[in-house]
Every structure is written in C-alpha cells, then in structure tokens.
C-alpha cells in the first residue's frame, strides 16, 4: 500500500479504464471559445485587453473636445450659477437668418437677443425671432421619428427609408427634396450629396412668402437668378410697391435698421429722406411712409410702369408702353416721386413685392435707370434669403398629381397647408410611395407622410447660414437635445449612406468650402473660433455671373382687367407664413396696424363696409373659383375699397393646442373657432399663374349673418375725440409732431415748463434711470413687445381675456390714425410704465406695494401687493397690469423658458414695466465687481436691446453725456401728459413730418 505509483480511482469506470480521467479533463471546457484553436486563447485575450487598456489610457490623456452639451455636476472654470452667458448663433425663425445671442442661464437658454456684431441685423431681432426660443421648449415638438403615425426609433425609420430608397434607386424613380429657402451651406451640400446618389433627384426650393418673381426677373434681365441685396441704409429715397419691408418682407430687421440709418444725416434728420408706398392694404411700412398712395391691387403694377416711364423719359431711355388709363393713376404724386428719385440717383431704391415677373422686371429697370445697381442694390454679394421658385413648385405639383414621384422629402415647409391644394392633390401626395416629412411638429404635411423624421431645434443642434453671399454664420447648440430629434443635415447624411454628426458635417464643410473663401490667412481653427465668437464672418462671395441688364427683356404690362373685389393675401407681423402657429406669444401679439390678436380676419375699407352693411366681426364668405372661406370682417382704415385682405398662416393644425391657453373659469370662452383652430387658412385663395403663385385674386363676398368677435387691444384709434363728444380744441398732444422747418429754426431754450412750489420729493443723488423713445424711428414692428414679454415672464392671457381687455403685455404699442379714414397716417407709440417722479400710483397704494427708488424707478413689490387696483385706476397711462387669475404654468418644459431673474407673479397682484430692473442690478453688480463706474449703455432693457430701428435708449439722466440725457434735451423731446405734472421718466422724440403738414401740438385729426 506504500507504492508511490499506486493508482487512485474515483469510480468503477475509471478503475476499468485508467485513461478516462485524463480524456475527460481534456474535453471538460470544450464549450468555451478559449478552447478553439483558431480563437485567441486566454493569454491572447489578456494580452489584447492589456493593450487596449494601456492604449486608451495613453490616448485618454489628451483632452477630447466636448461635443455634446452636458449637465454640470462638476462646475467648469469661469462658470457661476446664476450668471448668464451669451452664445452667438443664428435665428432660423425665417430665412432672413439674423444674428442672435442666446442668453444661457444655468445651462438653459432663456432669451434670444440681437447680435450687434452681425453684419445684417446689427443687433435687431424681430418679434418672430424673439419668440422662436419657445420652439425649443415646446412640449408638442416631436422627440422621435414616427412611422405611419406611430413613434419609432431612428434605426427602424432609417432602415425602412433606406430600403425604400434602394428600390427607388434601382427603378430609377424620381426623388424630390422640397425645402424652403435653405440658407445653410452645409445643409445645401448635404442635400446635394444626397440627391447625387440618385439618377433622377432634384432639390426644389419654394417659399410660402415668395420672392420668386424678383429672382425670375433678374434671371431674365441679368442672366443670373439672384435676389440683389437691398441696401436701405444707402437709400434715403424709397419707393415701394406692395412691399412691407419693415414688417414682413424678406429681411425686415435688417431693412428697418438700414431704413432708419438712411433717414439720418450725421445723426440729424435728413432733409432728403422720402418714402412713398403704393399699396392696397395698410401695412406697417405704408403707415409710416411720407406719402402713401392707396391703389387697387390691379393698379399697383401699372403705377410702377408709369413711374418707370417717367424715369425713362428723364434718362432718355427706352420706355415700355404704359397701359393703364392715365386718369386712374396718381399722376401728380408719380411726377413728384420721379423727380425725387431722379435727384437721388444711386441713393434711392424702388422695391416691389408683387408676385408678377413683368412688374419685377419693371422694378429692376427702374433701379437700373436710377443707377441703383451697384449702389443700393448689391449683385456682387446678393441676398440668399429667398431662393424659392414658384415655377419649380408648380412643376413638382404636376409631377405629384401625375404620380411620377418615387420619393418626396419635405423640409422646412408645410405644403399641405401653405399651398392651394385641393382634395385630389392631397390624395396624390399621399400616394407618393415614400413621403418623408422632416417637420419638428405634426403639421398638415407630416400628417400625410408615412415617415416623420423631426428636425432638431436650432438651439440644440449645429448648423450654419449664409444669408448674403459672403456673410457666413455658425449656428451652435446651447442646450442638450430635448428628446431624440435629429438635425436635417444628419438625416440627409444618413440617407446618403454616410452618417455623421451635424457638428462634423458643418466643420467639414467649413474647412473644405468656407475657409478657403476667407482671404485673411487665418488658420482654420482660429477662423472657426472667431466665427463662433462673433457670430458671423465675411468671406469672398460665391461667384455669380451677373451680366449687364438686357433692356429688351423689359416687357410692357398686359392691359388691366376689371377685377372687382380682389383678395389680397398678406403676411401678418408675427405670424408670417404660419410656421410659428404653435407659438402663443406670436398669436397673442396684436397686429401693429389693426391691433387684433389671435385670429385672422378680412380687412375691408370703411366705405366698402358701409356699402355692404358690414360691421366689425361679421362673418363673411369669400369665394373664388369654388373655394370659399368664412372669416370675420375687420374694418380697416387705409384699405382700398376694392381690396379685401386676409392674413396667411392661420388655421394651422398646430394651433389646435390653443383651445384655451388662458385662465379656466366659469365664463371663459375658447380661443379657437368651431374647427378647433386659430383663424382660417386662406391659402386656398392663392392662385397659380404661369410664372408665380399670386397673392391677389378676384373674389366674391357674401354676408353670412353670423359673427365672431375679434380680440382687438385698441378700440379707439385716433387722438381726436369722437365727433359727438369732442369738446373742441386740438387733438390730445400725446403723439406730437414736428417738421423739418420747425427743427431747423433756432432752438428755443427749453425752460422748465412747470415751476415747482414744493421742494423735490426725490433727490436722485446717484443714478436716475430714464428712457427716451424716438417716435420717428419707431416702425411699430412690435419686437419690443415680445422681447419684454419673454424677459419678464409675462403670461399669455388667451383670446377671451384679450377681448375682455385684459392682455398682460407690459409694453404695448399704441397706434393712432390721423388724416382721413381712406388713407390715414399711422403713428406708433410704445407705451410702458413711465416711472413718474410724482407717481400717482405710489400715493394711493394702502400697503406701500409700489414705491419710488432712489434711482427713479417706480417699483412694484409683488409679495406686498394686496390687489386693490387703485394704482391702476390712478395711472394716467393705464400701463399697469393686474393678475386677474392664476395664469397656467402647468407645462414643465415650457416653464424652462421663464427668466429666473424675474418673479412669476401669482393671482391678485399688480405688475408693470420695471425698466428691466434685473438688468440694471446685473450691470451694477458687474460694475462693482470690476471696480469701475457704470458707463452709458451698460444697461439695455429688453425692449431697447432688440429694437431693429434703435428707437429706444435707456440710461442715467444724471449723466449729462448719456444718450438718454441728450435725447431728452433735444428740441424734439417731450413727455406725455406733462401738464398733469406727474413728471414721467420716459421721454419721447416727436415724429418728423417731411411733407410740411406737421402740427406742433397734437397729432393731426
């Protein structure tokens, strides 16, 4: 038993076969891959792991750039909670692509402000741009792709789309990519690359508010389909034909700034400046013009032709035949205008918004005769803000109806709502084998589409823009993506088979295509960083072959046809083509002219309304070629008797959400109409002509006998009293006017008009904040209204509350007509708390909830207010706003847009303009931190910051050098209701009338 070699057995089997244990041991781990001869063994695995670990440790030592927005569990350097940072990016609310600074507070964007370094908008940002921040926080925005109406994943959607595309590619099917104007060069490149993977693919560009006719006219005249960049800043004399360039046309913020600059000469009102507007519908632009000529829609082009004939005779050039009967046109005004334009050759502009190629050719010819090309019209660096082609769109519609399309991708457009499509056209659209919508919301087109691949919001994704050839800007994300939408650029890249992130796509494009156009010799990284910091860079323009004008292409107009009543479809300030119909701020923004919010309506002239027996709010039926809409009437001064104008962009699916955006109570009425939508979609009245989609069309009008009350924020429209109640005397001196003659007269010494009997209540030893508003510069565009609403967390009250006169806007723009109802003049007066020195509100509050600060601010203390409303009653300016209810704040995503610096007010307290006290405090703290005194301009309230016309200045009245002191001391300076001695801190500069009819006291009645 002591044999060392004795064999131990564990079983009888093993005893029988001593080799069995050994064989079993060999096969014991047979299942593990480590046993496979060809697979790496355990040692190989460890070796490989070690290598990877070491390798990643080494590569990890260099800092990778942060490519995604991340939350801040660890506080980065230079970051303080509670302090806001600003990032330069671009506004994509329309194709004007203005520069914005996104104000990011604690990791979330809370406000968009104009970027003063942007070469086009130069600090201005319109109401739509301001409001577009809400898109980011819109809880109805699609957060993932949808296939056949059901939520899906990107993998699934891409797989299905790619499979479908593959079969189309094999069958050589037609692929069309339909977009609005794409100002992003990177996205354009992506679409081009995507289209290049097919034999029959085309990129169709269409603008719902089209300038196609201008582009077509330039193609015919100059051989290049370009939109010249209009340099209003170089053109003191402007003639505009149906172009609302200060309100809604092409690039209003840029144009407003330019227009304002051209009207000043060395900071003084220019004597040469003149603007004549020819239009049938009273627009924002027309209301402020020196001369407004009210013409029927059909006469506008003929008036232009008549002007061209006059200019041609002065230039001794060929003139196309004038076809209109002479008597129908305002010959005297045209003669004078031609003289003014002729005297300002090279310093004038003739612009035309008509969707009529012949008229646009005439307009171009007029500018050519005036030598404006190269001076005020830039063809070297043309505008890329409108690239759409109506003809291409119409061709696409034919292809759709003929069932020739294999695939249609729709991005940035909503053709089902924006075009006059009947049922068969929509059905044909549904029959397209592959219909993909890239809309971020379930709009009318997305409802038809099998695939909805939502585009990301511009504030959460990379992008770029080239709004004017040679001006490039980067769009940088400032927020982590909400949901799982995907930038369109990435979608097209994925469908081209080359998936990449938007950042890489933009950077690659900039490195390869944009940077080489920059002549400065800056290395790419620096160029990139500089672009990010300033928001825009100038590079060489894309070369375009602009030849000399071919005069023979200018045609005469066809003879006018008697049209009777014509519908004029126009873009309303704030709503534009309807792409922001989801935005409650824009829906509640009163139209600057009609002061109506929440609905569209048919504007009818007072004379026409009287002859048809119509009153405000009467529903009428407007019929054209079998299509009809029912819409309430608004009697609009300045409207041509033969025109009925209706705003586009209403009746949109996205407005379904506004059944009741305001307070909910017993007698609350819904905001939407019977169909659950806000307003009526009037696009069925658009009309295709051979060349364009026309906005004018002959219609019939019928009364229906029913009515729908309109939410109008201003019911009395003039500073003269109603005739029966007029005590006599001049109109109320609330908006005051002056003339150039009065201004050039030797300035009388402005004495203190009201001597004080008592010592001053307030000494104002430090700052004394004050504001000055140039009423001559203010166009009424309402950017300040929305800016103020966002900055100060002003709630949306809803249509019913607006009808009840309880809109909450802290800053409103009062609009007064003067002159005749046929053709009134319009004055806009931004009105907000006047921060009176002898404030009537302060003395009457029983609980001291509104008090005067040592710096002249009238402060409202919300948590002290018990809500007696005595202050509001006693306010001569009626600028105080009461929280009648608790306004809804249930949507937690939307609540992220609230400004953390401003209290959200509860029910039962009074509120009003605070002169953006939070901004004053921020600037004071910053000055203190830096240990230097505050400089003029350190504080810019929200209204001033984004004013495209730069009509508002704010500052310290105790500093005689501040701009506000200088404006206040001007001969034009006055204060509203000075005679009741409340001593307001807001100064207004009188409107300048250049036509010699100014009235020193009141606004003319």
């Amino acid at each position: 038993m002591n044999d060392p070699h004795q064999v131990h057995w564990r079983s009888l089997d093993e005893f029988a076969d001593p080799q069995l244990a050994e064989r079993r041991g060999e096969s014991e781990f047979e299942d593990t891959p480590l046993r496979h001869a060809e697979a790496p063994g355990r040692r190989d695995f460890l070796r490989a792991t070690g290598f990877v670990l070491a390798g990643s440790a080494i590569t990890g030592c260099s800092r990778a750039p942060v490519r995604t927005a991340t939350p801040l569990p660890t506080q980065p350097e230079d970051y303080w909670p509670g302090r806001s940072d600003q990032y330069a990016t671009i506004c994509t609310a329309c194709s004007a692509s203005c520069g914005v600074l996104a104000k990011v507070r604690d990791g979330r964007p809370v406000k968009l402000e104009g970027n003063p370094d942007h070469p086009l908008s130069r600090g201005g940002l319109c109401a739509v741009g301001q409001a577009s921040i809400l898109s980011l926080y819109d809880s109805h925005r699609l957060g993932q792709p949808h296939v056949s109406g059901k939520p899906s994943s990107w993998e699934e959607a891409d797989r299905a789309i790619l499979t479908a595309l593959e079969s189309i590619r094999k069958q050589k099917g037609a692929v069309r990519i339909l977009t609005g104007t794409v100002t992003s060069p990177s996205l354009q490149e992506r679409i081009r690359a995507f289209a290049a993977t097919f034999d029959n693919a085309r990129h169709i560009v269409f603008d719902p508010l089209s300038s196609s006719a201008i582009l077509d006219a330039h193609e015919a005249l100059f051989g290049a389909r370009v939109l010249p960049r209009m340099r209003f800043e170089k053109a003191p004399v402007v003639a505009a034909f149906d172009a609302d360039f200060l309100g809604t046309w092409i690039s209003p913020a840029e144009f407003t700034r330019g227009y304002r600059e051209a009207r000043l000469e060395n900071g003084k009102p220019s004597a040469q400046a003149w603007h004549t507007q020819f239009e049938s519908h009273l627009s924002l632009t027309g209301g402020g013009a020196e001369e407004r000529v009210r013409l029927a829609p059909g006469q506008l082009a003929h008036a232009l032709a008549a002007l061209v004939a006059r200019l041609a005779s002065r230039a001794g050039a060929r003139s196309p035949a004038v076809t209109s009967p002479a008597g129908a046109l305002p010959d005297k005004q045209l003669d004078e205008l031609a003289a003014r334009l002729w005297n300002a050759r090279g310093r004038s502009l003739v612009v035309c918004g008509l969707a009529d190629v012949k008229a646009q050719k005439l307009c171009a010819y007029a500018n050519h005769l005036l030598g404006n090309y190269g001076a005020t019209l830039d063809l070297e660096r043309p505008s890329l803000q409108r690239q759409g082609s109506d003809r291409a769109m119409s061709g696409l519609l034919q292809e759709i109806s003929a069932g020739q399309l294999g695939a249609l991708f729709v991005h940035g457009l909503n053709p089902a709502a924006e075009l006059p499509l009947d049922k068969t056209a929509l059905e044909a659209m549904c029959r397209i084998p592959l219909l993909v919508s890239l809309s971020s919301r379930t709009d009318e087109t997305a409802e038809l589409a099998r695939f909805v691949c939502p585009d990301a919001d511009p504030l959460e994704s990379w992008g770029d823009a080239e709004p004017v050839s040679g001006t490039v800007c980067i769009q940088q994300p400032v927020f982590r993506q909400v949901g799982h939408s995907r930038p369109a650029m990435e979608s097209f890249a994925a469908w081209s088979g080359k998936p990449a992130t938007a950042r890489d796509l933009v950077r690659t494009h900039w490195r390869d295509s944009i940077h080489p156009r920059h002549g400065g010799g800056l290395p790419f990284e620096e160029f990139w960083r500089a672009s990010l910091q300033t928001g825009a860079m100038e590079v060489k323009p894309q070369s375009r072959a602009a030849t000399a004008l071919r005069q023979e292409a200018v045609e005469a107009l066809p003879a006018p046809s008697a049209e009777g009543m014509t519908a004029v479809l126009y873009a309303k300030t704030g709503i534009l083509d309807g792409r922001h119909a989801y935005n409650p701020w824009l829906q509640e923004l009163p139209d600057p002219i009609s002061k109506a919010a929440w609905d569209n309506y048919a504007c009818v002239s007072p004379a026409k309304a009287a002859s048809l027996g119509l009153a405000d709010g009467d529903l009428i039926k407007i019929t054209a070629a079998g299509h009809s809409i029912e819409i309430p009437v608004l009697i609009q001064a300045g409207q041509h008797d033969d025109a009925v104008s209706i705003a586009l962009g209403y009746g949109r699916r996205e407005s379904q959400r506004f059944s009741n955006p305001g307070p909910k109570w017993m007698y609350a009425k819904p905001t939407t109409g019977a169909d659950g939508l806000v307003g009526v979609n009037a696009s069925c009245l658009l009309r295709w002509t051979p060349e364009t989609l026309a906005y004018h069309r002959g219609v019939q009008i019928e009364k229906t006998g029913r009515n729908r009350e309109l939410a109008v924020t201003q019911t009395h429209h003039s500073l003269t009293m109603p005739p029966k109640l007029d005590p006599g005397g001049p109109p109320r001196p609330i908006v005051q006017e002056t003339s150039l003659v009065q201004l050039s007269a030797p300035a009388e010494h402005k004495s203190e008009a009201h001597p004080e009997l008592w010592p001053r209540d307030h000494q104002y030893t430090g700052h004394r904040w004050a504001m000055a508003i140039d009423l001559d510069a203010c166009s009424g565009c309402s950017a300040c209204v929305v800016s103020c609403q966002i900055e100060n967390n002003v709630p949306v009250a809803g249509r019913d509350e607006v009808i009840r006169n309880r809109e909450m806007h802290w800053l409103r723009i009062d609009r007064y007509y003067s002159g005749t109802p046929e053709n009134p003049r319009v004055a806009h007066q931004p009105m907000m708390c006047q921060h009176c020195e002898h404030a009537p509100c302060e003395t009457v509050c029983p609980v001291l909830a509104t008090v005067h600060s040592s710096e002249g601010l009238n402060q409202q203390i919300y948590n002290r207010c018990v809500g007696t409303r005595y202050c509001a009653n006693n306010c001569p300016y009626k600028v105080r706003r009461f929280n009648w209810f608790d306004y809804p704040h249930e949507d937690r995503l939307v609540n992220l847009v609230l400004n953390p610096d401003v209290t959200v007010r509860s029910r039962g307290v009074m509120e009003k303009c605070s002169f953006c006290v939070q901004r004053i405090q921020e600037a004071k703290i910053e000055a203190k931190r830096l240990g230097k005194p505050m400089a003029d301009g350190d504080v810019a309230p929200a209204c001033q910051q984004s004013c495209p016309a730069q009509a508002i200045v704010f500052g310290d009245l105790n500093d005689p050098k501040s701009r506000v002191s200088q404006w206040a001391a001007q001969a034009r300076g006055y204060r509203v209701l000075e005679e009741i001695n409340v001593r307001p801190s807001v100064y207004y500069l009188k409107v300048i009338r250049r036509d010699g009819e100014a009235n020193g006291g009141g606004h003319h009645g």
């Binding site: 307070p663 109570w665 017993m666 007698y667 201003q714 019911t715 009395h716 429209h717 003039s718 500073l719 009293m721 109603p722 029966k724 109640l725 007029d726 005590p727 005397g729 109320r732 609330i734 509350e801 006169n805 309880r806 809109e807 409103r812 009062d814 007064y816 007066q829 009105m831 009537p840 003395t843 009457v844 509050c845 029983p846 609980v847 001291l848 002290r864 207010c865 018990v866 809500g867 007696t868 409303r869 005595y870 509001a872 009653n873 006693n874 001569p876 300016y877 009626k878 105080r880 706003r881 009461f882 009648w884 209810f885 608790d886 029910r907 039962g908 307290v909 009074m910 009741i980 409340v982």
Partner: protein, 465 residues
C-alpha cells in the same frame, strides 16, 4: 314751528298709554313669527347664500370672474361699497344730528334707522375686502405691530383712510345704537320669564335699574355719543369721496366731491329708511308710531338733499367747462352722451326728476307713491356711484386704452348677495330687538303734561312700565 306742529298733531297717534306702547312694540318679539316673515326671511337668506357662494367662487378663482379690465379697475365692487356706506348715513343723521337738534319726531324711526346703518356698513365692509386681489392679506391696510421692519401701511393712501373711517364709523354707530337700546333691553328683561332669554337680556341691559341716577347718566352718555357721532356723518363720506377726489383721473379729481358725497349719502339713506319704514309699518302694524308726519318730514329732507345733489351735478359740468381742461370736458360730455350715457340718464332721472314729485303734499301723503319714489332714488344713487367710477375710468387720458365695462353674473350676484345680507340682518333685528325705541317714544307721548308742547322727559317713559 315744530312745537306748534306737535301741538296740532301728536307724533304718536291712537292715544296710546305707556303700557300699550310697550305691548305694541314688543308684540313681534313675543310671539312666533308669521308666514310673511318666514317667506321674507328665507328669500333674503337664499340671496345671502347666493352671494356667499359667488364670493367663495370669486375668492378661490380670482377677480377675473368680474367684468373688470385693464382700464376699468373698479366697478360694481366700489359702487356697491359707496352705495351701502351712503345708505348708512341716514341712521347716524337721524340718531345723532336730529337728537342734538331735538327733533323729536326721530324717536319713532331712529332705532331701525340705526340698525339699518349698522347692517349697511356691514354690507359695505364686504366690498373693500373682496375687491382685493388677495383678500387674505387685507389686514395689511391696518397699522398693526409687525416684524417687517419699516414696512408699514401707507398713510398717504385714501384707501387707508377709508379703512379707519369705516371702522370708526362702525364702532361708534354700534356703540351709540347699543347705548340707546339699554332701557329697552331692560324692559324686555323685565317682561321675560326666568330662563335663557331673561339671562341674556339681563347681561345686555347692564344692570339697568331705571333709577333717576341711571337715567341721568344714560342721558349724558347718549348726548356725548351723539356729539361724537355727528362729525362722522360728515367725515365718513368725505373720506370715501377722497378715494376719488385725490386721484388724477378726470371726473374723479374734483374738490366738490366731499359735500356732494355727504349730501348724496343722506339723500340715499333717507330714501332707504323710508323704503324700509313703509314696509315695516305695514308688516308690523306700527301705523300709529310711524305716521304720515314722519314720512312727510323725511320726504322734505329728501327733497332738500336731492336739490343739493342736482346742484352738484350741474356744478360738475360747469367746472369742467370753465376749467378749459380738455380731458375734464371730455369726461363729462362722455358721461352725458357717450356709450354709457344710459347710466348717467338713469341717475339724473332717478335722483333729480323723481324726487320733484315730493313738492306735492298729496304725493308725500301717499305711501305707495313715496315708496315708488324712494325705490327710484335707491336705484339712482347706486347709479350715481357707478357713473362716477365707471364712466370716468373707461375713457381717460390715452385713447388707446379706452375700453368698456359690463358686469358678469358673478358681480351681479354679489350685489344681490349684499342685499340678501342686509335684509336677513334686518329681519332678524325685527324679531330679536324692539324696532322702535320704546323709552324714547314714551317720552313724546305727552303723558303727564298739561300744557301742550312742553318738554318731554325720559323719566316718564320708565323702562319698567
């Protein structure tokens, strides 16, 4: 003159004995209420309930449930407030001023007029509270000690003055009323069988023993309180008028307001006293206590105050025209001819035209006619406040902010509810306390006086009888 009047026609008719007076006045208290009372009481209580529900809804939901807007910040709320405060004035006038002037016809009506004052002030007091956006913070208008450092109330605000004026008014009126009640409370005590009723009235009558000394002190206190209450007749409505007069709003900013408001208040108060007295007289069989003579005297007072009010209306127009202030001129043209002219003309017809019928003795002696006229005056005086508040606000300085106003059903229900409160309290008062000052009436019965017109003495109307 008054003395000879009394000689010719006694203030109390029917040759009442002292005991009969006690019996007549206390009769409603000492039997079960009749059907008429129950119907009236339940109707008033339902109105009060309606008011309570709407107030609860409005407090929980927001002032937005009223028809107010950014331009018209006050309407029904302050109209009702001023209206009810005005109603209250007649009580104080009758009880204090007429007492000091020894107008002995007041004895039949002063008790109920004072009760009316108290109830009207209660109704009025509701509105400044509920009209606040945050009524639960309403106590901030009082200067109570707090830990908020220098943050106190604003002594410059007329609304703060209001708070003092009304609370003072209520306290003085209630005290005055209570002091006047004491001899009668003792009478009730003495007539009650031992039990709860007797205990309660024993406590309330403060150990009244009807002794000469008690009477003397009582008289002194009563006269002193009358002296204290007298300035209130003028001050309360003067202060209420300052809510408007100290503002900058055309149509409010008027120095005529204090006398105009005081006259209006007495006018409306007298009308309301008459309305109530005519009903109570009939319902409670007090024809012999509230005689045609009482009605006649009050009608003359109404005629006088109507004249003052009419003069004020005219003066306002003259001042506006003479001021050459276009805003002021416009407000008055707008009142008379603007979109709310209907309210102005209701006011003028009810307050200036309707009382003119009272020049005729036949009308003054026809109770139905007087009743109808007083109802018109009540309506007219409500509209006076509505006109002042709403028509001045709805179209002031900037035409851009002009708006209109129409009440919501919630607002109308609060007004109705305040009437419900008023009548509920009044009906309870009729059941619980003597509606006529027994002790004082006994003083004017002229028992024990040989010579007519001799001075009445309270000793003769001893509570124990």
């Amino acid at each position: 003159m008054a003395e000879t009047g009394i000689a010719r026609q006694p203030l109390i008719q029917g040759g009442k004995t002292l005991a009969q007076v006690t019996l007549d006045v206390l009769k409603p208290m000492e039997r079960r209420p009749g059907l008429l009372w129950w119907v009236a009481f339940l109707a008033s209580l339902s109105l009060l309930g309606l008011g309570a529900v709407t107030i609860a809804y409005q407090v929980t939901t927001g002032i937005g449930t009223w028809g107010l807007n950014n331009t018209v910040g006050w309407a029904f709320d302050i109209t009702n407030f001023v209206f009810w405060i005005g109603i209250g004035h007649a009580g104080t006038l009758i009880s204090a001023i007429l007492f000091l002037f020894r107008q002995r016809w007041r004895t039949s009506v002063n008790r109920s007029a004072e009760a009316m004052t108290l109830f009207a002030v209660m109704c009025a007091g509701i509105f400044p509270v509920i009209h606040m956006g945050r009524p639960w913070m309403g106590y901030w208008v009082f200067p109570y000690p707090n830990d908020r450092g220098p943050l106190w109330m604003n002594f410059r605000s007329p609304l703060a003055w209001d708070a003092f004026a009304i609370s003072t008014y209520f306290i003085i009126s209630a005290t005055f009323w209570y002091i006047g009640l004491i001899p009668d409370l003792a009478t009730i005590r003495d007539r009650s069988a031992p039990g709860l009723r007797r205990t309660v009235f024993s406590i309330l009558s403060l150990g009244w023993d009807g002794s000469y000394r008690t009477w003397q002190r009582y008289e002194t206190v009563y006269t002193l309180l009358a002296g204290l209450a007298t300035p209130l007749v003028v001050s309360v409505h003067t202060i209420v008028s300052w809510d408007f007069a100290t503002s900058v709003i055309p149509g409010w900013h008027a120095t005529i307001f204090p006398p105009y408001f005081v006259a209006g208040a007495i006018f409306s108060g007298m009308a309301m006293v008459l309305t109530l007295m005519i009903i109570a007289r009939k319902a409670m069989h007090l024809e012999e206590y509230i005689t045609h003579r009482h009605v006649d005297v009050m009608c003359k007072l109404i005629l006088l105050t109507s004249g003052i009010v009419a003069l004020a209306y005219g003066t306002e127009f003259f001042t506006a025209q003479y001021s050459a202030n276009p805003y002021e001129q416009f407000v008055f043209l707008n009142r008379a001819m603007g979109p709310m002219a209907w309210s102005y003309w209701i006011m003028v017809s009810c307050n200036v035209l309707a009382p003119q019928f009272l020049w005729f003795k036949r009308v003054r002696h026809s109770l139905p006619a007087v009743f109808v006229i007083t109802i018109f005056i009540n309506i007219g005086m409500w509209f006076e406040r509505f006109v002042i508040i709403v028509t001045s606000l709805h179209r002031d300085y900037l035409p851009s902010s002009w708006s209109s106003y129409s009440p919501t059903p919630i607002e109308i229900a609060t007004l109705i509810g305040s009437f419900g409160l008023f009548f509920t309290l009044f009906l309870l008062f009729c059941r619980i306390l003597p509606v006529i000052a027994i002790a004082e009436v006994k003083g004017v019965l002229q028992h024990g006086h040989a010579a007519p017109g001799a001075k009445a003495h309270h000793e003769e109307g001893r509570g124990q009888q």
